[in-house]
Amino acid sequence: MPKLYEIVEKQDLVPGMALFHVYAPMAAKNMKPGQFIILRVNAKGERIPISISGWDSEKGTIRIIIMAAGRTSTEAVALKQGECFQDIVGPLGEQTHLEKVSGTAVVVGGGYGTGAVMPPARAMKAMGNRVVGIIGARSKDLVLLEAEMREVCDDVIVCTNDGSQGVEGFVTDGLKQLMEKEDVSWVLSVGPVPMMQAVANLTKPKEVKTYCSLNAIMVDGTGMCGACRVSVGGKTKFACFHGPDFDAHQVNFEELVQRQKMFLEQEKIAMEKLEEVK
């Protein structure tokens, strides 16, 4: 049997981004689409929230995708198969709002979000929905998990900024084209905040039900600290506890973008320290 929080499999996806299967039986036990975990890389590490791209309750493993962006994610991506995370806690948050909808259901994944939208996509399809996946990358070589998306969804639209594959442009360009062709009635987007905001702006005039998954700054992840405060419909919500999924048309993205910058200075210092340690 693997050790607790052991990486039983690691796959490098693109430079700086890796997919891990980790033995975390308590987290895997009762996971639902859209939920997340919090992990620490080592005993001195911070707690960071990570979306889930799959799980196996029998084997006790969870599947996560981590992109090296700051100190902790950089340290995480450097871990090898057979090594262990310090600890993993979950499942956290509420599951995605799943339902049988009249038109097409669309999942939009940016970067790590491509993995995160898979469980909700599977669940929406299982409910009898037509599910289209939209994924984006800068260019063809950086497109993530396309084959798996094709298995999970009825159709997949790949968007590349340089036009080297599929639709030229952003995921919003792919979504725009799809909305011209089909009756899109449900959208879930997971990825960088500006992407989720752009998706929300695109679907708002047509009043398409749109959810986004907010991966705000968190500490405990159980509602205890309130670090993850977001304004939704003019009210303060805790992303960890009330979310992570929210009605994207109600989210105050401007505030969220600002709040994500709270620890920018500290993040720089922490990265320098990591270089020093190396």
Binding site: M26, A27, K29, N30, R40, K44, G45, E46, R47, R71, T72, Q86, D87, I88, V89, G90, P91, L92, V219, D220, T222, G223, M224, C225, G226, A227, R229, S231, T236, F238, F241, E255, Q258, R259, K261, M262, F263, E265, Q266, E267, I269, A270, E272, K273
Partner: protein, 479 residues
């Protein structure tokens, strides 16, 4: 030594526990009170009149035999004194440090009517520290195995006490904890200069030596339901829930979501659970400016204020009522004042003002005055029409917490009141769900460590009766 007369005892002055000097202690996180020397403890213990009907015992939520442990200190038998304490209280080193004695045992101490009460808290701390420092602490005895399995949810003061009380009766106990370490609010919410980590960890260590199992990083209500725990897979016969009050209240004041505005829970958790005071050696960051404003005047507000001071800030406490209504222990207010913290009473924040980068820069307050008494019996603060603006680049909201909602929301059959507080029978701790008992802030909405422990003791006794009757005790749970 000849037996002292009551008159002689009453003539002894209360011996203040020596403390680090304020100018020194604001530069470190070491404990502020330094502890009694043996002779001083004996002299302080001699002040106790050993009353026939001791009021102090009535004032203690866990009914410690206070005169008995104090008289053992007077005799110089410090080890026996500690053992006496442990007969009723598993956590005396913690209680001696964080209990509001001034509102409990020491409040009703008979010699406190004429002069200063016996320093019961300091003596409790002395005896338990003596026992620990001299390696005299013994693993508590555990009754023969009953074959019953009990789950304890949460490892804070309620959960630790329940685990001890249930385990010593011979039941198999597993504690489920959401964080990566045990102690709950004792770790994430109480500063190290009031309660060192070693004290908490020793108690957890003793629980482990008694055979209590701990499962960290496990969230009951998410990983598994209470029904799962009592189902065939886990096979627990009963559950004690002590998940606390951990959902911080916010003011709703404009600017509350600016960067640099924290809940006290977040601020203290970053420092004391995650070690952000040693950033970047510890990776959890803390942003703190030079002028820190604390909103509220309870114990948590004092903890945040004194922490911010130690991290180098100029600290001001804003409270909408007057000092008299401040909910903090007298000692906490006193310590905070000694540590050069400014208090602005009758000041009600109305807005946090940010800069272009979304960071807080100013705090606007209404100047208040006290009007008629409100429902809480305290005089209601009302605006005078005057206001002021202070520079402020970090604000910490210490306005109390709501109950942690994970257990109630994931178990709708557990009855809660309109504030989301779990309803539990005061005599037994029984909730509305069969086999599930509760104690601590979860059933009070926010109280003290010792109250939580008292409730956990009550619930543990009832839980014992329940499992030993094979679930037949407590008629209202009949199917």
């Amino acid at each position: 030594m000849a037996e002292l007369t009551p008159k002689e005892r009453m003539a002894i002055e209360r011996h203040p526990m020596p403390e680090q000097r304020p100018e020194d202690r604001v530069k470190n996180f070491d404990e502020v009170p330094l502890g009694f020397a043996d002779e001083n403890a004996k002299r302080e213990a001699a002040r106790c009149l050993d009353c026939k009907t001791p009021q102090c015992v009535e004032g203690c939520p866990v009914r410690i035999d206070i005169p008995a442990f104090i008289k053992l200190i007077e005799k110089g038998d410090f080890d026996a004194s500690a053992k006496k304490l442990r007969e009723t209280n598993f956590l005396p080193a913690i209680c001696g440090r964080v209990c509001p004695q001034d509102q409990q045992c020491e409040l009703v101490c008979i010699i406190g009517k004429r002069g200063k009460p016996v320093a019961i808290g300091s003596l409790e701390r002395f005896a338990s520290d003596y026992e620990r420092d001299n390696g005299l602490r013994k693993v508590p005895e555990v009754a023969a195995s009953t074959g019953k399995k009990v789950a304890v949810v949460g490892s804070g003061p309620a959960g630790m006490t329940a685990a001890y009380e249930i385990r010593k009766r011979g039941h198999d106990v597993t504690v489920f904890e959401a964080f990566h370490r045990g102690g709950g609010v004792l770790v994430y919410g109480i500063p190290r200069f009031r309660l060192p980590l070693a004290v908490i960890d020793e108690d957890i260590n003793f629980l482990e030596q008694m055979g209590v199992k701990f499962m960290y990083n496990t969230i009951v209500g998410k990983s598994m339901s209470l029904d799962d725990l009592m189902g065939p897979e886990w096979g627990f016969d009963s559950i004690f829930v002590g998940t606390g009050a951990g959902l911080p209240k916010m003011t709703g004041v404009p600017g509350e979501n600016l960067n640099g505005v924290y809940s006290a829970n977040e601020y203290l958790t970053r420092v004391y659970l995650m070690g952000a005071n040693n950033f970047p050696d510890n990776v959890t960051p803390l942003y703190q400016g030079k002028k820190v404003g604390i909103i509220g005047a309870g114990n948590t507000a004092m903890d945040a204020a004194r922490t911010a001071k130690r991290l180098g800030a100029d600290v001001t406490v804003y409270y909408r009522r007057s000092e008299e209504e401040a909910p903090a222990r007298t000692e906490e207010l006193h310590h905070a004042k000694e540590e050069f913290i400014t208090f602005k009473f009758l000041s009600n924040p109305t807005e946090f003002v940010g800069d272009d980068n979304f960071f807080i820069r100013q705090i606007k307050c209404d100047v208040m005055e006290l009007g008629e008494a409100d429902d809480s019996g305290r005089r209601r603060p009302q605006p005078t029409g005057e206001s002021f603006v202070d520079d402020c680049d970090t604000a910490i909201m210490a306005l109390g917490c709501d109950v942690n909602p994970i257990i109630p929301t994931s178990n709708p059959e557990i009855e809660v009141n309109k504030w989301g507080v779990v309803v539990a029978n005061p005599e037994t701790g029984a909730t509305s769900k069969k086999g599930v008992f509760a104690g601590g802030d979860l059933i009070t909405g926010g109280s003290t460590v010792i109250q939580a422990m008292g409730q956990a003791k009550v619930a543990a006794a009832a839980l014992h009766e329940y499992v030993m009757s094979n679930g037949n005790a407590f008629g209202y749970w009949q199917d």
